[in-house]
């Protein structure tokens, strides 16, 4: 059997796990491990400029590929800098393994230089965590970490490794376990047959059904099955923010995103429905608005792999715990065998209502001659990339405009921090994707507020030739904050205006990239085309837009799903 040091076992275990990239930043507690990285070729290490970016890169990679992303950071500040990224992954159930260095075992608890209780600090935002006690345990712990991160409801797992355990001079027998068993962890492999039968019966009898599909469909790789089911049942489909792309966005049955900034049609369809089939969605407050007024006539079928997600916010009539793909497959085969048929007249009437709500357009805005509207930027991006780009975003108005106006026909293309709402997510996430999909178009839609939270990563982009496009929708304000201040605080713009913005074009150039400034509506399309034609360069587009634009529709606080502001003056 092969003899390896602890440090070499860490890196070999990652290689044997099939890891292609690790995103990280070295430091004292990790020096042995970085030496082991230097002496091998199987795993490629990407040096970020801030550890938060390492976790977001891992996250972007995971969302685009479906495989767990890996970040490697040193103890103390290296570890604490990953917290936002871990929380981001936790809230959106993204598979991720974060390996952190730790001070030597004998010094834990002595407030040693760069010591922090990483397992303690990360505890509420991880699926699980490990503090490695012995070098011999490294392969098994790493195998367990990957197993936990990517099975069941996925999530981030932290592995904290004290420095003495990675000592290069001590060698141990190395064998990477193929399988690990964790006696208390048995995620469901299929849904309950009887529950699915009941669900099928309800679906066939419903007069006004709707499918509400979330990020779980993307994570569970069940988009095809969902689409097949929706077609078979001929029902309207809406997506949550994280579910975008799980059902084709340009399909006739698609009624747009739902929720706080969802379409009137999607929210109205939900509100008027008599049956909601919720698939891999969690009835988040940004969807339901006031749960007491939530969809009064609807029975609810809820499919989720996490039993704790079911009946947490809204009580389900038919809970189905299981992996989305297995449940949908079972549902499809039970539908085929079902004796009886749907009420076609009722369905035609339902579609007539849905189509009438759609008539106004799912997402509308008014253009102006002399100033660009942020929505135009997304439309132009959609046009130039033919709807086929990976789109990452930061958080705020630009994120909602992107979700509303870019129509995703494939899963894993919409990459956005939905649950935690992390500004600074977009650029590193786009980097993680571009690295793995160098031939694909990757756009980071951002704002001048968000981009400055991780702008140092432009340097990483230069080092690794990450030729993504940054679409900076610059309204010189923290737009979403400003919107709320307009709507609820009589336009008292408390700290939502950004003075002293950098010259983003020069900034991009100083990082070795190309900057393009767009100020007028007629310049937009040619500039966008130019940016995407420069395939071997990172292009930073600084696009000046109307600072007074709001995101609509917007749910009215404490109302039902379809109580909406449709514009500054018009409400339902």
């Amino acid at each position: 059997m092969e003899l390896l040091s602890g440090a070499d076992m860490v890196v070999r275990s990652l290689a044997d796990e099939g890891v292609e990239y690790i995103y990280g930043y070295p430091g004292g507690a990790l020096l042995h491990v970085y030496d082991a990285i230097f002496r091998q070729k199987a795993v490629t290490h990407i040096l970020v400029r801030h550890e938060q970016a390492a976790t977001h890169m891992a996250d972007g990679y995971a969302r685009a590929t479906g495989k767990p992303g890996v970040a490697l950071v040193t103890s103390g500040p290296g570890a604490t800098n990953t917290i936002t990224g871990i929380a981001t992954a936790y809230m959106d159930s993204i598979p991720m393994v974060v390996i952190s260095g730790q001070v030597p075992s004998g010094f834990i608890g002595t407030d040693m230089f760069q010591e922090v209780d990483m397992v303690g600090i990360s505890r509420p935002i991880v699926k699980h965590s490990f503090l490695v006690k012995k070098a011999e345990d490294i392969p098994e712990v790493i195998r367990k970490a990957f197993h936990l991160a990517q099975t069941g409801r996925p999530g981030p797992v932290v592995v904290d490794i004290p420095k003495d355990i990675t000592d290069l001079t001590k060698k141990y027998e190395y064998k990477y376990p193929e399988k690990v068993k964790i006696r208390s962890y048995n995620p469901p492999a299929k849904g309950h047959n009887g529950q699915i039968r009941k669900a099928v019966e309800l679906l066939m009898k419903a007069r006004r059904p709707v499918i509400y599909a979330g990020g779980g469909v993307v994570l569970g790789q069940a988009s095809k099955l969902l689409t097949e089911l929706a077609r078979k049942l001929d029902v309207p489909v809406t997506n949550t923010l994280n579910g975008l792309g799980s059902f084709p966005g340009s399909d006739r049955q698609f009624v747009g995103m739902l929720g706080m900034h969802g379409s009137y049609c999607a929210n109205k369809t939900m509100h008027q429905s008599d049956l909601i089939l919720a698939v891999g969605a969690r009835f988040d407050d940004r969807v339901t608005n006031n749960t007491e007024k939530f969809c009064p006539d609807a029975k609810i079928i809820h499919i989720d792999i996490d039993p704790a997600s079911i009946s947490k916010n809204v009580v389900a009539d038919i809970p189905i715990v299981g992996p989305v793909d297995a449940v949908l497959e079972n549902m499809l085969s039970q539908l085929d065998e079902y004796q009886g048929s749907q009420d076609n007249a009722a369905r035609a009437e339902w579609w007539a209502s849905v189509d009438s709500w759609r008539e106004k357009g799912l997402f509308t805005y008014e253009k102006a001659d002399d100033i660009l509207k942020p929505q135009q930027v997304i439309e132009s991006l959609y046009q130039v990339t033919k709807g086929d780009a990976f789109v990452t975003t930061d958080v705020g108005q630009h994120q909602m405009f992107a979700a509303q106006h870019y129509r995703f026909n494939k899963p894993n293309r919409w990459i956005s921090s939905g649950g935690l709402g992390t500004m600074g997510y977009g650029l590193p996430a786009a980097m993680g994707i571009k690295l793995s999909f160098p031939e694909e178009q990757v756009a980071c839609v951002t704002g001048e507020g968000s981009i400055q939270m991780n702008i140092q990563e432009l340097s990483t982009c230069l080092q690794y030739d990450l030729h993504l496009k940054v679409i900076n929708i610059n309204n010189q304000a923290l737009g979403m904050v400003r919107q709320w201040q307009d709507m609820q605080y009589d336009s008292r713009y408390s700290h939502s205006y950004m003075e002293s913005l950098p010259d983003f074009v020069k900034l991009a150039e100083s990082y070795g990239h190309i900057g393009i400034r767009v100020t007028r509506p007629e310049e937009l399309l040619p500039a966008m085309e130019k940016a995407f034609s420069l395939e071997d360069r990172l292009v930073f587009m600084d696009i000046q837009v109307d600072p007074n634009e709001h995101v609509y529709p917007m749910q009215i606080k404490d109302g039902g799903m379809c109580d909406l502001w449709l514009s500054k003056t018009e409400r339902t």
């Binding site: 397992v119 936990l148 208390s184």
Partner: protein, 163 residues
Amino acid sequence: MRRIISVLVENEPGALSRIVGLFSQRNYNIETLTVAPTEDETLSRLTVTTSGNPQVIEQITKQLNKLIDVVKLVDLTEGHHVERELMLIKVRASGPLRAEVKRTADIFRGQIVDVTSSVYTIQLAGTQDKLDGFIAAIGQTQVLEVVRSGTTGIARGEKVLCL
């Protein structure tokens, strides 16, 4: 509604902090908590009493079950069960009250486990109610110190919580 949840957890460092952390993180109540290793040294058994409406209790058990270190759990209050709490109470016992304290302890089937000329230390086991009752019953006596273990419990009959 008061609930007694009994949990088998991996006897690993950090397991307890994950459970306690879950309660504070999700704004659940912990009224009492007891924990000790079991006859299987890889497992600890933890008993927590909590309160909440049925929806909250359902979330508590589901969220606990999600913790990787939690092997199995049962809500004892869902069925017939025996529950006990241990109390050690130190009271002033001098003058005419000395005999009175002894009598009350006997009525409650308490044992005097330590004695000085002016102080009794009494050991008492029972339900929370009984222990509360004892404290109320010796109301005139000066209570110097009370230590309670928190509730622990076990299901009646054939039902067992094990692997």
